[in-house]
């Protein structure tokens, strides 16, 4: 049971990440490869606050949101001027910068050693160090983010996002300043990723910079693409599949010392096969 709850929590975290990235990649057509950076900022904010101050989890969550709001606003402002390949390259650059900061700002982040001893949340007398309660809590957050994403994508604003994805030059002719639309959705997406990061840090209780490298951004991208671009349910499906995949591989009996590498190989193969045969993902609407 403990094992299933563990998988459930990971599934919820990656569902939030997949959902939030889908708003940017699937609905707006901006190939962002920087999601792990915001995920990492959220995780490190929580880890630092919980281990170095007397403040609680939800205070760290709010501080993480504020920090990501500011950073995503500044980065989004720069990235909103790009499109296509340039957007992707710019976003990778940002992820690399964040990773470098996490690795080198040793006084704050402890560098490559990471931060251990991050505690679980406790609110209104409920101790979320109980994994089952933690699962319920993060599932509530997942539901909230799903409903927010549904509201955004079903609103007229969502149609503008899709129009930007289809032809960002043509939609401007009709009076829409796409910079604002791109910026707003980028910030919303980044905040969701930061919250997922806070939960991740609190759940695993130990974080290190390598968890937030570009490869993690690519993994989150695979979650969004596999399930389906421009499909919220697709992101959930993608997260479910990719969280369960390592467990399936474990059951198949890959030797432990190559299991990690094989997992990367399989993710790569999945991505190639999807691009070849089903670019819109399993239940997606949009083809890259």
């Amino acid at each position: 049971m403990e094992y299933l709850i563990h998988l459930g929590i990971l599934f919820a975290i990656y569902s939030i990440l997949g959902l939030s990235l889908n708003l940017v990649v699937g609905f707006t057509g901006l190939l962002s490869i920087s999601h792990a950076a915001f995920y990492g900022i959220g995780a490190y904010t929580t880890a630092i606050i919980l281990t170095k101050t007397g403040l609680g989890f939800f205070t760290s969550l709010i501080l993480g949101i504020i920090i990501v709001l500011i950073i995503s606003f500044l980065i989004g402002l720069v990235l909103s001027k790009f499109k296509g390949d340039y957007y992707a390259l710019g976003s990778i650059g940002f992820n690399v910068i964040v990773l470098s900061v996490l690795l080198n700002w040793q006084d704050l982040t402890a560098g490559p050693l990471g931060i251990a001893g991050v505690s679980r949340p406790e609110i209104l007398g409920i101790d979320f160090s109980n994994k089952f309660y933690f699962l319920i809590l993060i599932l509530i957050f997942l539901l909230i983010f799903y409903l927010i994403s549904l509201f955004i994508t079903k609103s007229p604003f969502g149609k503008i996002l899709k129009a930007i994805r289809e032809d960002d030059g043509a939609i401007q002719i009709f009076g829409y300043n796409i910079l604002y639309f791109k910026l707003v959705i980028f910030i919303v997406s980044a905040v969701m990723a930061a919250i997922a990061g806070s939960f991740f840090a609190s759940f695993v209780t130990f974080i290190e910079p390598s968890s937030f490298a570009v490869s993690e951004s690519i993994f989150i991208l695979v979650v969004s693409i596999l399930g389906g671009l421009a499909s919220l349910r697709g992101s959930i499906l993608g997260a479910l599949f990719l969280v369960l995949l390592p467990e399936i591989l474990r059951l198949i009996g890959f030797p432990v010392d190559i299991a990690g590498q094989m997992r990367q190989v399989i993710y790569g193969i999945i991505l190639i096969l999807l691009m070849l045969y089903r670019p819109q993902g399993l239940i997606g609407e949009y083809k890259i």
Binding site: P156, K159, K162, E166, A170, I173, G175, F181
Partner: protein
């Protein structure tokens, strides 16, 4: 009354003049044709006026009041200008209906998030799509439409904005005769509504039928202008089109 006044407009690409010191005036409520051989600067002119391409030099005045030497694409809507493209630019992976609804969306973030499409939007979209015989295709993705249907949808999308000035860049190119009739009737209706239409077209029969006034461009410069019947008889115009 002049609705559009262009003074000494210039655009160069890699040293080559696409539009060269061009000045012209367009009267309100008229259908103005812009013709010229390929590469004469017709589409560049429309791209300059719609902010797609930045202006190098020159000034544009809209409605005798709003002057601009630089304009962003998202600003032309507020000047009452809309356009279609020579090569159709629709929102391909969206439905036909959504291609109309999207331009009826509030222009600001909060409005677009919280103001839903009312009944009037749906009724208006239906009216517009029925006008171009696409209502029965409303749920189809645009990428599944024929070329002619896509041309009509692009015109319908422009109509949905209720603009005062329409730039139509070769709206008749590559479409069936029945569809040509629809486009021609739309242009005539817009004229009756006192809208101003700037029409880039190569079909001289349509130019004669629809246009009140004609500008002929060649190598980015104004070669001739006047009433179509007069201009199309001029030797230098015939020479520019047909060569020696």
């Amino acid at each position: 009354m002049k609705v559009l006044e262009i003074k000494k407009l210039t655009k160069r690409f890699d040293g080559v003049f696409a539009v060269n010191d061009l000045s012209l005036e367009i009267e309100k409520g008229s259908v103005v044709g812009i013709i010229g051989p390929n590469g004469s600067g017709k589409t560049t002119l429309v791209n300059l006026l719609s902010g797609i391409v930045p202006i190098d030099k020159g000034k544009v005045t809209v409605n005798n009041s709003k002057n601009f030497t630089k304009i962003k694409p998202c600003q032309i809507y507020s000047h009452g200008i809309t356009r279609t493209f020579q090569h159709v630019r629709l929102f391909e992976q969206m439905s036909v209906l959504d291609n109309i609804l999207v331009v009826l969306t509030e222009r600001n973030i909060f409005g677009s998030l919280f103001v839903k499409y009312g009944d009037h939007c749906h009724k208006y979209s239906k009216k517009i799509l029925e006008r171009v015989n696409l209502w029965d295709k409303k749920d189809k993705l645009v990428c599944n439409l024929s070329y002619g249907q896509r041309k009509l949808l692009e015109i319908a999308r422009a109509l949905a904005t209720k603009s005062k000035i329409y730039f139509f860049d070769e709206p008749f190119a590559g479409i069936f005769p029945e569809m040509r009739k629809i486009v021609a009737s739309i242009i005539k209706e817009l004229k009756l509504e006192k809208k101003t239409i700037i029409l880039i077209e190569h079909d001289m029969v349509l130019i004669r039928e629809l246009c009140d006034y004609l500008f002929v461009l060649d190598e980015g410069k104004l070669l001739a202008h006047g009433k179509p019947d007069v201009v199309l008889k001029r030797k230098n115009v015939v020479k520019a089109y047909l060569g020696e």
